[in-house]
């Protein structure tokens, strides 16, 4: 194995850096919790019946959210990727917008919507509101995952089935089994996002496992207890992701682009009105209502609050965008290295273990990650890291590389090895094969991974609020530190500015990437 590692210097450097810079601090912090003076009592409390019951309750809530999000997302995915429906492009983009808004902001907007229409923000039971809001937030993720699977169904399967059976049966017996891996992936990912979510349940006063961990951290300042309880959450997430990975080892999770797709597109006749109505209804619920309420409340007293909000947010733009941009580049790089090593060198054990380490860090709650990095990097001689944005870059790479590796890894599974073999036989070096064959082939996927990493980094609050260097300002932190006592119109204006900035950046990056991909592909055609 040693020789293999020498032959893979880049992989070895990235792998060891990840282990030393991110995994080691977390393992150290978790380890120290077991050496706390009160470990006996804390272990008993952390694993007592009440805690387990709370964990089960949280799992049930997360499962309900994941189940309904996947169902709705699948239906949306089918309508937008398998049928010919008016305004398809518009719906494809606009229905993804809830993914760009922090779940907390979304929850606040929905509370205001209830208040606006019913004069009572608690008109629905808190559990129901919490679940509904999270379903709205996470359905686009399911739509993205299943939509990708719909696009890649070979139309021969569908046409053969339609010759012998009805459309309904073909959906149930052919299409759904074919997209099963995506349905499972969607369920697992949304389950993990939901069970780890703190802000929405806290806002609606729903007691879940994350609020319990938060209470240990912030009310009792009992770090070791919070870490022990977090371990249960980490175990569940790791187990699910591991099971999903094992079960779906060679099946695609998410791919973009319709190049080479031979999927059948259906023309809706009678169902078109109903489908369009559903799409419009969902768009209203997931975007039009929340954004409209933000607009109304931002400008209800004129433009003064918006101008003030803009002035307050101004100092945060450059740092936030630059930091997220650099973080996304690093995340894609680490994700690519991990995915490439696992896909091209399946015999390299460290390649597999790299992916499991990414998975482990992804499952670690933000607060634990933050505390771990503080304790590890706040040492004399490490100020260059601890007192600068480098500490946040490290945190983001740790937190989001798993997603990038997953997206890129699935693209690599579909990459024909014969191309690489042919180039190798023709004498192309490893570097040339990567630069001139592999990267152009998976460029759209690399861009998708970049965008996802960029959005997550730009909107992160949980980790960055623990780590941001004194004297610096980032967009989400500024909104949260101002919103406590600020007037409602100012808070809504700031939220609106964050939302519009994210949207403009994504559209801008998308345009640039489109041009670049076209140029790159032309150059190598």
């Amino acid at each position: 194995m040693g020789r293999k590692l020498v032959k893979q210097p880049l992989f070895t450097i990235v792998y060891l850096s990840f282990v030393l810079m991110i995994v080691a601090p977390i393992v150290y912090t978790i380890g120290t919790a077991f050496f706390s003076e009160k470990i006996g009592v804390e272990l008993t409390q952390a694993f007592q019946g009440r805690t387990i019951f709370l964990l089960l309750k949280s799992s049930l809530i997360a499962a309900i959210i994941a189940f309904f999000s996947t169902i709705i997302g699948t239906f949306l995915g089918f309508l937008l990727y398998k049928t010919k429906i008016p305004f398809q492009g518009f719906f494809k983009v606009s229905l993804l917008i809830p993914l760009l808004i922090s779940p907390y902001i979304f929850a606040v907007a929905w509370k205001d919507i209830f208040l606006f229409f019913f004069r009572d923000s608690t008109i629905l039971p808190s559990y129901l509101t919490c679940i509904l809001v999270m379903i709205i937030v996470f359905s686009p993720l399911a739509m993205l995952i299943t939509g990708s699977a719909f696009m890649h169904i070979n139309k021969q399967f569908e046409e053969s089935a339609l010759m012998v059976t009805s459309f309904r049966k073909m959906i149930l017996k052919v299409i759904l089994p074919l997209i099963k891996p995506s349905l499972i992936s969607s369920f697992v990912l949304i389950f993990i996002f939901s069970i780890s979510e703190f802000s929405v349940p806290a806002l609606f006063g729903v007691k879940v496992f994350t609020t319990e961990i938060f209470t240990q951290f912030s009310a009792f300042y009992n770090h070791s207890m919070a870490i022990l309880q977090s371990l249960l959450l980490i175990l569940i997430c790791v187990f699910l992701l591991y099971a999903e990975r094992k079960h779906l080892a060679d099946l695609p999770f998410l791919s973009i682009g319709s190049k080479g797709s031979s999927s059948k597109i259906y023309v809706l006749k009678k169902g078109e009105f109903f489908s369009l109505s559903f799409l419009f209804l969902w768009l209203s619920v997931s975007m039009i209502f929340p954004v409209t309420i933000l607009f109304i409340q931002s400008f209800k007293n004129g433009v003064g609050a918006f101008i003030q909000a803009f002035d307050l947010m101004m100092p945060t733009f450059i740092d936030s965008i630059a930091l997220s941009f650099v973080a996304a580049l690093l995340i894609v790089f680490v994700g690519f290295v991990a995915a490439f090593s696992a896909s091209n060198k399946p015999d390299l054990r460290m390649g597999k273990s790299f992916n499991y380490l990414l998975l482990f860090v992804f499952a670690v709650p933000s607060t634990i990650l933050g505390i771990s990095l503080i304790k590890f990097y706040n040492q004399p001689g490490l100020e260059m890291i601890y007192t600068t944005y480098a500490i946040i870059l490290i945190a983001f790479v740790g937190k989001f590389s798993f997603i990038a590796a997953k997206i890129i890894g699935d693209a690599l599974k579909g990459y024909p090895k014969s191309l690489d073999e042919a180039a190798r036989i023709a004498g192309a070096t490893f570097s040339i094969r990567i630069r001139k064959i592999l990267i152009p082939m998976i460029l759209p996927v690399l861009f998708l991974a970049f965008m996802v990493a960029f959005i997550f980094s730009l909107g992160d609050l949980g980790t960055s609020i623990m780590l941001y260097p004194p004297g610096t300002e980032l967009m989400p932190i500024k909104v949260f530190t101002i919103m406590a006592n600020a007037p409602q119109d100012l808070i809504n204006s700031m939220t609106l500015i964050v939302f519009l900035t994210t949207l403009i950046l994504i559209i801008g990056l998308y345009m640039i990437a489109k041009l670049m991909i076209r140029k790159y592909n032309c150059a190598y055609d």
Binding site: L115, P470, T481
Partner: protein
């Protein structure tokens, strides 16, 4: 990314604050302008339960990066004192501030104070029906129509600890049981209490004076009242500053602390967020209450903090059951 550089310059000071950025930042900027010392701040709020700053201070204990901790209440600074994270400091500037609002050993010094008050919606509650005492909230006529913030966090925690300290465990527990029986609404934060009262979702709620003044600025329908003015008085919660033990920029830290403790800062905070000065002779805007006209609850802040640790498990059960 102007800040990607190593910061160990001597002409700077690092401050962590749980006071809302909207109010603390102008003070820190003014100090920066007047002193020429660069202020590098970390902001946090009660809304986020101060997870960031306090947990960061605890995690940084072995190698402090912070020089000064400016807290919105005395509760957190006592945690720091108990954990040996803060150091004693005596400021001449604060000599005329009553000893009640200072730690006897100098681990924290109080200044500009807020009080716990009742806010009510004038459209929902007639003037004659407004409760005059905190104990009135257990009255049937307010059933399910009043709110408090989650007592596990923020100033409500300290308010309850003060009640336990003042009334004794038995009476305080009975009072909390009465509140529960009267269907008290437990909001996520003081800001949430403010919002619910402003929107008329509930008739009244307990919050801090800064939230109350903000609510009254935003809506004419909101009124504010100091409770128990004929009884045990209202809880007064000063802002506090603490010097961090082994602070990297100790001289600048002391200058900043003196600046924060000055009459000028108190005057500015009175204007921006209706905080009541603790120095004598500070001019306040019209409508801002003065400690001279309020009956304060008589408490020992250190003792109340010890009480807080004692009752936290009980409060958690009270909230959850």
């Amino acid at each position: 990314m102007t800040s990607i550089s190593c910061h160990k310059q001597s002409n700077e000071v690092v401050v962590y604050t749980s006071v809302d950025q909207l109010f603390s930042e102008p003070i820190l900027k003014a100090f920066e302008r007047e002193s020429g010392i660069k202020v590098r701040a970390i902001y946090d709020t009660e809304e986020t339960k101060s997870t960031g700053v306090l947990n960061r201070l605890l995690a940084e204990k072995e190698n402090p990066q912070c020089d000064v901790f400016w807290s919105g209440d005395p509760m957190r600074v006592i945690v720091l004192k108990n954990e040996d994270i803060s150091a004693p400091f005596h400021s001449d500037i604060a000599d005329d501030i009553s000893q009640v609002y200072k730690d006897a050993d100098g681990y924290w010094i109080g200044f500009s104070a807020r009080a716990r008050v009742l806010i009510y919606n004038k459209k929902v509650l007639n003037e004659v029906d407004v409760p005059q005492s905190i104990f009135d909230l257990s009255n049937e006529k307010y059933k399910g129509n009043f709110a408090i913030a989650n007592p596990l966090f923020g100033t409500t925690t300290f308010h309850f600890a003060a009640l336990f300290s003042s009334l004794g465990n038995e009476k305080a527990k009975q009072f909390l049981a009465d509140l529960k029986n009267n269907d008290v609404v437990i909001a996520t934060s003081n800001g949430d209490v403010k919002k619910r009262v402003m929107n008329g979702e509930i008739a009244c709620g307990l919050t801090d004076t800064d939230d109350a003044f903000e609510a009254m600025k935003e809506s004419d329908e909101v009124g504010m009242l100091f409770l128990d003015q004929k009884g045990m008085g209202s809880l007064i919660m000063p802002n506090t500053v603490s010097l961090i033990a082994n602070a990297p920029h100790i001289a600048n830290a002391k200058r900043l602390m003196n600046y924060i403790l000055s009459k000028e800062t108190e005057a500015k905070l009175a204007v921006s967020c209706a905080q009541m000065p603790l120095h004598k002779g500070v001019k306040t805007p019209e409508g801002i209450s003065s400690l001279d006209h309020i009956v304060p609850m008589e408490i020992d802040y250190d003792r109340s903090s010890i009480k807080l640790e004692e009752i936290q498990k009980y409060l958690k059960e009270w909230v959850e059951n």
